[in-house]
Structures are given as structure tokens and as C-alpha cells.
């Protein structure tokens, strides 16, 4: 657990810098208009990178939530339920966001 949180954290520092630079500095003045954003996301490499970023962020965030709840000393059975619930939530987040951006790109 701790080790995954650490590894995803290190990965995130890299991916977050990439995300920020790509969104705000590659295009002069940053991605502003709708067309800019859609154009940016329609690059498959970027789309993949953003998806990986989203997955790592979600995993890191939900593992952090679990760590805080584990600090309150829950039973192993409750932990199993918690893990299942957080996994479902994480999957939902990733699927929703990919569907959202993917359909917007396809429509354009």
C-alpha cells in the first residue's frame, strides 16, 4: 500500500508537470478556447498520456482516502468492502472522464 502510494506519487509529480506544461505553455497563452482543447485532445498520444495521468491520479487519491480511513482502525471485513467500493468509484471516474473527452473529440 505505502509503496504503491509512493510509486504513484513519484509518477504523478512527473505526469503533473507534463500535464501543466502541455495545457498551459505549449500553445501560446495556454489552452483557452474550446477548439484549442479539442484539437489538443485529438492527438492520440496526448489522449493516452492524459488517460494514464487520470488513472494514476485517481488511484493515488483513492488509496489516500483508504489510508486515512485505515488510520481509524477498521476491521478486515470492512476494509474489504471499502476496497471494493473505492475500486468501483475509481473505475467509474476513469470511464466517465474518458467517455466525456472521447465523445467531445469524436463529435468535433
Amino acid at each position: 500500500m505505502w509503496i504503491w502510494q509512493a510509486l504513484s506519487g513519484i509518477l504523478l509529480t512527473v505526469l503533473l508537470v507534463v500535464h501543466m506544461v502541455a495545457n498551459h505553455f505549449v500553445v501560446e497563452g495556454g489552452l483557452r478556447t474550446y477548439a484549442d482543447v479539442i484539437h489538443y485532445l485529438s492527438n492520440p498520444v496526448i489522449f493516452l498520456l492524459e488517460t494514464v495521468f487520470l488513472m494514476v491520479v485517481t488511484a493515488h487519491a483513492l488509496m489516500g482516502v483508504r489510508a486515512i480511513i485505515l488510520d481509524l482502525g477498521i476491521s478486515p471485513a470492512a476494509d474489504r468492502r471499502l476496497k471494493a467500493a473505492l475500486f468501483a468509484l475509481g473505475t467509474l471516474i476513469v470511464v466517465y472522464a474518458v467517455w466525456l473527452t472521447g465523445s467531445a473529440v469524436l463529435r468535433a
Binding site: A6, G9, G29, Y34, I38, A61, I68, L72, A97
Partner: protein, 141 residues
């Protein structure tokens, strides 16, 4: 192979305390120093960033509603209140990341005698970089 767990003692008086009282005790700042400050800031920024993740995805849903909705949001994002929010957000991300590196080192047994200096380093660097970032946002207009 089935492993039989060794005996694990449990503090009954802690188990009897309601969970919200135990969680509130994390914020007990009586007689604390840098290490605790680093911990509580890490926890608060972490919780804040989880909420931001949801907020960010909500904002992205305007993409699905087409150019008008998106551009309305961008106009909102340029308001001074929003830039202030950005500042808090950027500080939270920087502190969580930089202190995260500190926690990784300390968690593997490296540098525990220098932990307070490492905290102040991460804290001051976050503030400086936040100031730089906010300046950049304001200059980009």
C-alpha cells in the same frame, strides 16, 4: 499455505472511543512541532486535492455541452476570485508533492534527523513556487 496470525494486542480504550473523536485528535496541536505540522498539512492538502479532482471532472463535463458552455467557464476562470483559488490549489499541489518526496525518504529511514529542515525546505519552496505561478497567471492575463 495457511498462515496463522500471531497474537496482536489491541488498545481497548482506543477502540471504545468514537471514530470522530479519534479523527479529531489528529488535529490536537498541543505540544507539537514541525513533524506534526507537515503531517496535518499533508492530510488537509490531500483531502482538498481529492475534492478538486471531482471539481475538475465536473468542469470538464462542460466540454460535452459544447463551445458556449466551455467559453463561459473560461471567462469565469479569469476572475480575481478564481485566480486566488488557483493560488491555493497550486500551493496544495506543490506542498503535497514536495512533502510527499520528504515522506518517501523518511518512510524508508533516510534523513530522520533532518526532518524539520526538510519540512521547512518543502514548505518555503512551495510558497515561492506558488508566488511565481500566480505571477505568471496574472501576466498571461
Amino acid at each position: 499455505m495457511e498462515r496463522s496470525l500471531p497474537y496482536r494486542p489491541v488498545s481497548e480504550h482506543v477502540a471504545r472511543t468514537p471514530w470522530w473523536r479519534r479523527a479529531a485528535a489528529w488535529a490536537d496541536l498541543h505540544g507539537r512541532r514541525e513533524g506534526w505540522l507537515a503531517f496535518i498539512l499533508m492530510r488537509l492538502t490531500g483531502i482538498g486535492l481529492v475534492f478538486y479532482l471531482f471539481l475538475h471532472l465536473t468542469v470538464l463535463s462542460t466540454l460535452a455541452r459544447g463551445p458556449q458552455a466551455w467559453d463561459a467557464f473560461i471567462a469565469l476562470a479569469r476572475s480575481p476570485l478564481f485566480v486566488a483559488f488557483d493560488g491555493v490549489l497550486i500551493f496544495g499541489m506543490l506542498y503535497h508533492g514536495l512533502n510527499g518526496l520528504r515522506v518517501i525518504l523518511l518512510g524508508l529511514g533516510v534523513g530522520s534527523r533532518r526532518q524539520a529542515e526538510l519540512f521547512w525546505g518543502a514548505f518555503v519552496l512551495s510558497i515561492v513556487l506558488t508566488a511565481v505561478a500566480v505571477r505568471m497567471i496574472l501576466m498571461m492575463g
